[in-house]
């Protein structure tokens, strides 16, 4: 736990530091210049700040306001230590974001008790934040392939469709499926199947652009949302992906597996499409790609379902 002490009086700072160093797992950093202390706190992640009030250039209240403006969650505890005993200073400090307040001369036992309590709260908060992060990850991620799961992909697709409607920029969707995946599973086992899916996802992430979104819809089927992308551009991206996958090999327990994919691509029509209709159309085109020989990309413009040039393998 990082404890920062900021006091322009070097003896005060050292005294406080001497006491709080008694706390288990505490690492202390001390500043006599409040502006330097603020810069350090902004660049690092302090767990607790012990702050003097009366300091030249940047006093405690000013420090609080500046720091809290950046620490938007206001979760880092800040204790103001001051010889100003008046209530007005206390109110100003609390309004500016102080978590607690100690008067000089401080009682070392009280200083330690308050510091330990606040550090305990900070630990609990960090643990909670970590748990929430992990829960969010589990709720939105297909853990095998580290891509969006079906539900999260649909949420993101919906967001992109809303953006497309607002901006008028194009959006294309691809649905990709591993060819003869059942045969791979039946021949080499589900471990091999998992390795193939992971490899497909990794290759897709490498080939796609930063703003493209990949999700696993289920089984061996993936969807790719390509914002600001026309059908022609989408077919080009997907064919590059298809050929990269076809060239790759999946190493699995001494075996080398060759895998190909089929891909259906369609562009969103703002006048008639919904997320479901777009997906259904891309899915239909995927099966056209399968039926016409696999290892290929099939794309169709808008809702007319007339076949666009097939990009052959």
């Amino acid at each position: 736990m990082k404890i920062v002490i900021i006091d322009d009086n070097a003896a005060n700072a050292m005294l406080v530091e001497t006491w709080v160093q008694q706390i288990d797992n505490a690492v202390t950093v001390s500043f006599n210049d409040s502006a330097e202390g603020l810069a350090w706190c902004e660049a690092n992640d302090p767990d607790l700040i012990l702050l003097d009030q009366m300091m030249p250039k940047l006093n405690g209240i000013e420090f609080l306001k500046k720091f809290r403006a950046l620490d938007t969650e206001s979760t880092i505890p800040i204790v103001m230590i001051t010889a100003n005993a008046d209530r007005q200073t206390l109110y100003k400090a609390l309004e500016a974001g102080a978590t607690d307040f100690l008067s000089k001369p401080f009682d070392p036992t009280e200083l330690l008790a308050r510091t330990r309590n606040l550090l305990r709260l900070r630990e609990n908060h960090l643990e909670l934040k970590d748990t929430i992060g992990r829960l969010h990850y589990l709720a939105t991620t297909d853990t095998l392939t580290e891509t969006s799961n079906r539900a999260h992909f649909f949420d993101r697709l919906t967001e992109e469709i809303d953006r497309t409607r607002r901006t008028g920029k194009p959006l294309s969707l691809a649905v990709m499926d591993a060819d003869r995946f059942k045969l791979i599973n039946d021949t080499f086992g589900h471990g091999a199947g998992d390795a193939v899916l992971k490899s497909l996802a990794d290759t897709t992430k490498d080939v796609l652009r930063n703003h493209d979104i990949i999700g696993r819809l289920g089984g061996e089927e993936f969807a790719i949302c390509m914002p600001e992308t026309t059908l022609e551009e989408g077919i080009h991206v997907c064919d590059r992906l298809r050929s990269t996958i076809a060239e790759n090999r999946v190493e699995m327990e001494g075996r080398t597996l060759k895998v190909t994919v089929s891909i259906g691509v369609s562009q969103f029509d703002p006048d008639s499409d919904t997320a479901d209709s777009l997906l259904n159309r891309a899915d239909f085109l995927l099966y056209r790609a399968k039926d016409s020989g696999r290892n290929r990309v099939v794309g169709v413009n808008d809702n007319k379902m007339s076949e666009f040039p097939i990009v052959a393998s």
Binding site: A11, L15, T18, A83
Partner: protein, 90 residues
């Protein structure tokens, strides 16, 4: 560590005495210096000296009008520091 603290305290006392002995400070700067001195002295248990610093802070006078009080403060600080040094030696 105790010796380092004592040395740091000693240096800060010297610094603040010098600040208060500067005859050019206005009332506000004098009060600010006295305020800092008050807090530090009280933290280190030099209660009598801290009380004198409080008097200077509350007097709201410029530095050229507080020479007598600064003199008392300096004597009280010296006495207090000798006591601290004695404790450390033992």
């Amino acid at each position: 560590m105790a010796k380092q603290l004592f040395d740091k305290l000693s240096r800060e006392c010297d610094r603040l005495i010098n600040v208060l002995n500067d005859q050019s400070l206005d009332a506000r700067d004098t009060a600010d210096a006295a305020h800092e001195f008050k807090g530090m002295l009280s933290n280190f248990g030099l209660v009598q000296a801290s009380k004198i610093a409080t008097e200077i802070e509350n007097s709201q006078k410029p530095s050229n009008a507080i020479a007598e009080n600064v003199d008392r403060l300096e004597k009280s600080v010296s006495q207090g520091m000798r006591q601290v040094e004695e404790i450390l030696r033992n």
